[in-house]
Symmetry: C2
Subunit: 148 residues, 2 copies
DNA sequence: TTGACAATGAGACTCATTCTCATTTATACT
DNA sequence: AGTATAAATGAGAATGAGTCTCATTGTCAA
């Protein structure tokens, strides 16, 4: 995904291809992994105002271009919205890293069933769900969390 | 669970039965549902200092008497620790209520499997997981979330 | 009862996130 | 192009949940 593709994808979602929006997407495509807004700001504080970063994150999330979720230490994490649908996260409390997790279809299907059931039982429209795992990586010298 | 039982249960966990701890547990037994620390403080600000409330919540969680979890709006919710083990939550975004959810054993078993797999794959000790559903109750006049 | 030590309360502090508003940039229309 | 209109940005103030400090108070074993 190069700059002009990013600009086009913004346009196609009906949202202006402004400098911070393009830049944020370029960064996210570059790292291809979840990152917290704070981490992102720390490495790019010359490029964005913090307020702009949060606003742009919001814009892109509303436009369904990125996904956000909140880790237990109250940071917002973002990543490019996966084309192949829903997935979940493993959060390493030692190194404060988030790893994308894939579930098998059976598991996702049972979650889907559950959503239907609960929706009826409580007369609530279920809009989303989250499944997150919390762990601690073994080594303190170097962290294996990012390895496959 | 009356006051003397609460005091005894505190002692049995090796933690002093101080006034705020006993009071908090009485309140939790009384409502018998998850509540956020902020909500709890708003209805009881004469009875606790806010700092004490958070500290006591921590003490009781460490002593395994209550459970805590964080909602997407970053509030800490607490409830008496369920004797029959793990369960999950449905959070109503309209009325900011949390409902306890039971899963069937099959579902919990597949979560357990998943934890084992991931633990090996990423060389991480999985310490916990959370599964939460987010919904919106239908009526704005009155909310059906608390009904069974 | 008393002394050692644990717990509390008031409020200062932190820090991620949100808000405000003046300035800049994009877009639309002559 | 030039101007009007609207959208987006940036700097920093404000917010608010949660944490920390430390002087005071309460607990409990001896
Ligand atoms: Mn992800
Ligand atoms: Mn619960
Ligand atoms: Zn790690
Ligand atoms: Zn509701």
């Amino acid at each position: 995904m190069d700059r002009s593709q990013v600009r086009m994808s913004l346009k196609s979602k009906g949202i202006a291809a402004t400098k911070p929006r393009v830049l944020l997407l370029e960064i996210l495509w570059g790292i291809n992994a979840p990152i917290s807004v704070q981490q992102l700001y720390q490495s790019n504080s010359e490029k964005f105002a913090l307020s702009t970063l949060y606003r742009v994150v919001n814009d892109l999330a509303t436009a369904d271009i990125i996904e956000t979720f909140t880790s237990p230490d109250q940071n917002i994490w973002i990543e490019i919205k996966a084309e192949d649908g829903h997935h979940h996260h493993l959060y390493c409390e030692s190194c404060e890293t988030v790893i994308d997790i894939e579930m098998d279809e059976e598991f996702e299907a049972s979650i889907s069933d559950l959503r239907d059931q609960l929706s009826k039982k409580y007369n609530i429209t279920i809009v989303d769900h989250s499944f997150e795992l919390y762990g601690k990586c073994s080594g303190n010298v170097h962290c294996a969390c990012n390895l496959d």
